[in-house]
Symmetry: C2
């Protein structure tokens, strides 16, 4: 279960309505049952159910901190239609640390009102699915021109582009920053600016990929290089 | 445009209703316009529109054969719900040669009646999207136990599994066969049988992946190793 505010061992915590429903109704947990929990920021805990009602309460028996080993940030232009939902789900499953929507000349991330909360729910579901103690962070949209400044801490920067060089080995230590253009592609100016900021054009497949496919492909190449 | 039966240069061919609509209504092509066409089996052609009506007709001006370089077959158990559609679309975009649904102990590909034609349409759309002259072949479902015999021609065989070894370099020459379990996973028996058939367990990410995510991740690792 996902418990954003895990207390110290001995603390009693109330689960959110979603998690309470999942634990009490879907898993049919009872008082005294043990659960695995995480705060999505690297803490994994063993929890014991103390109240199994509409609101489920648990007591923290033990907890342990995990550190992220390899890290990836994905900067991504807007795909067509509603393809953002499953892109978010898949990037979270693959273990991307931070997803950063990029506003580009050819496509902007407009009207995020209802999407943001849905993305957050998808990221939490993916964390449970992948049994990871790390929840993907979802950043506010930034302009493509700011991508270089934003990723100053990255050890390696990739720019997905048909005709780029093959991804140079996936065993990236430290932080990888990867940029993917929107459905209409980056403009020539945007690409030039990214390259000047140290983004290396890498080719992901023989054919041209949609935005969401390229994003998942580049994250997969990174994720496989454990 | 996709023209499964491209004739020799000089031949006149009628486009399918879908392609006719696309050419005449969406692209608003006129008599005399040139189009790029492919038969999805490696032939690329320059076509000239001779009739731009409800049925569009074209004459083949030139054509050229391309050979597939690297090749991948994906053998895949059934994912949850309707996640097969976008899995098919993404595998086709990434350039997989053949997609083979696997019937497994924990999930079978039942009721393919309506899905098959939809998958075919998705594979054709992906071929156009990726500007590839190769259409992904969609095989009939086979039993997991037959995977070894079916992939006798493969140079390398991978089995996606959490806790396997890192994918050993993506620059596979020849044919790669990759097997991914259904949403409930392969049984121990199925895994043993695949391993005895030469499938090497490879790990794709730090966390556990859904079936469709694992299929796309393994195809991405292969596709990036051009």
């Amino acid at each position: 279960v996902y418990v954003p505010d895990l207390g110290a061992p001995g603390a009693e915590v109330a689960l959110s309505p979603d998690e309470s429903h999942y634990v009490a109704r879907v898993c049919r947990a009872r008082v005294g049952d043990a659960l695995d929990g995480t705060d999505g920021r690297g803490t994994v805990a063993t929890l014991r159910v103390t109240v199994a009602d509409r609101e489920v309460r648990v007591v923290v028996e033990r907890h342990e901190r995990r550190e992220r080993g390899r890290r990836a940030w994905l900067l991504c232009g807007a795909p067509e239609g509603r393809r953002d939902d499953w892109m978010v789900e898949k990037l979270a499953e693959l273990g991307v640390e931070r997803w950063i929507p990029l506003d580009c000349a050819r496509a902007r991330w407009d009207g995020l009102g209802a999407r943001r909360p849905r993305w957050e729910r998808l990221a939490i579901a993916a964390l449970k699915q992948s049994r990871s103690p790390f929840r993907m962070e979802i950043a506010d949209p930034v302009a493509a021109a700011e991508a270089g400044a934003l990723t100053g801490a990255a050890a390696v920067r990739w720019l997905g582009r048909a005709g780029g060089m093959p991804a140079p080995g996936a065993s990236t230590a430290g932080l990888l920053a990867a940029a993917i253009g929107p459905s209409g592609g980056f403009t020539r100016d945007e690409e030039d600016q990214l390259e000047r900021s140290g983004f290396l054009p890498v080719s992901l497949a023989a054919g041209r990929l949609r935005t969401e496919t390229a994003a998942i492909a580049i994250a997969s190449v990174w994720a496989a290089g454990m």
